[in-house]
Amino acid sequence: MQIAARAIKGWTILDLSGDIDLSHSPAMRKALLGEIKEKHTPKVFLNLKNVRYIDSSGIASLVEGLKASRDQGSRLILYGLSKSVREVMQLSRLQKIFEIYEDEEQALAS
């Protein structure tokens, strides 16, 4: 898995690619919580367009990020979910808990 960060209008987009599994979810968690809790970024976008797979440890990190963003009064926004990632969100019944958009344009306009 790879993570790259982009800054737009004082917000941060984290571009993720590859598989988010037990091996890689700690890196995603660190990047996500760093933006939310340390940098206090008001909006953090996760671009999941190139994520082929996410496991329950990845989902747990997203939930942790969501809770942290609520505590900070910031927003965590996901977009570009693949079929596989959508399935996991549905199985976890989390698709209505997160802010999810189809693509970057919609996400940035939200």
């Binding site: 598989d19 091996s23 797979y53 329950s56 989902i59 942790e64 809770k67 596989s84 996991v88 199985l91």
Partner: protein, 145 residues
Amino acid sequence: MESNPQALGLVRAAIERATEVLHFHEEESRAIVRSVDEALANVIRHAYRGKSGLPIEVTCRHLHRTQDGACASGIEIVLRDSGVRADPAKMKGRSLEEVRPGGLGLHFMRQSMDEVEFSRKKGKNQLRLVKYLAPAAPATPPEGE
């Protein structure tokens, strides 16, 4: 395989290939791969408490059964580890109504697989996962017949 999280990608690829060979639909294939991955992650995290380099035996075979006169085909994946004895009381999953990290892996397995069986044999934890192929839809007769 060894209890190394970096090995999970390789096992996922192998299981995905096996499900393709057995003609599982894409969605079912993803569900099987997810179940095996979650099961292995549980072994690494809980049975081996995060220690790497410990053995996990993964076997996979084509399964046949006859039920109500019809033949069904499927895949059986068995995982064996020599880690801490699995506690059945902790294998019930959790309510999804509560939004909190963790505890989803078992839920994914039970949602996706036809059979999920835990046992302890000869000092080893054993997890057996089975998924049967959905019966093929009856062929539609050509128009005019």
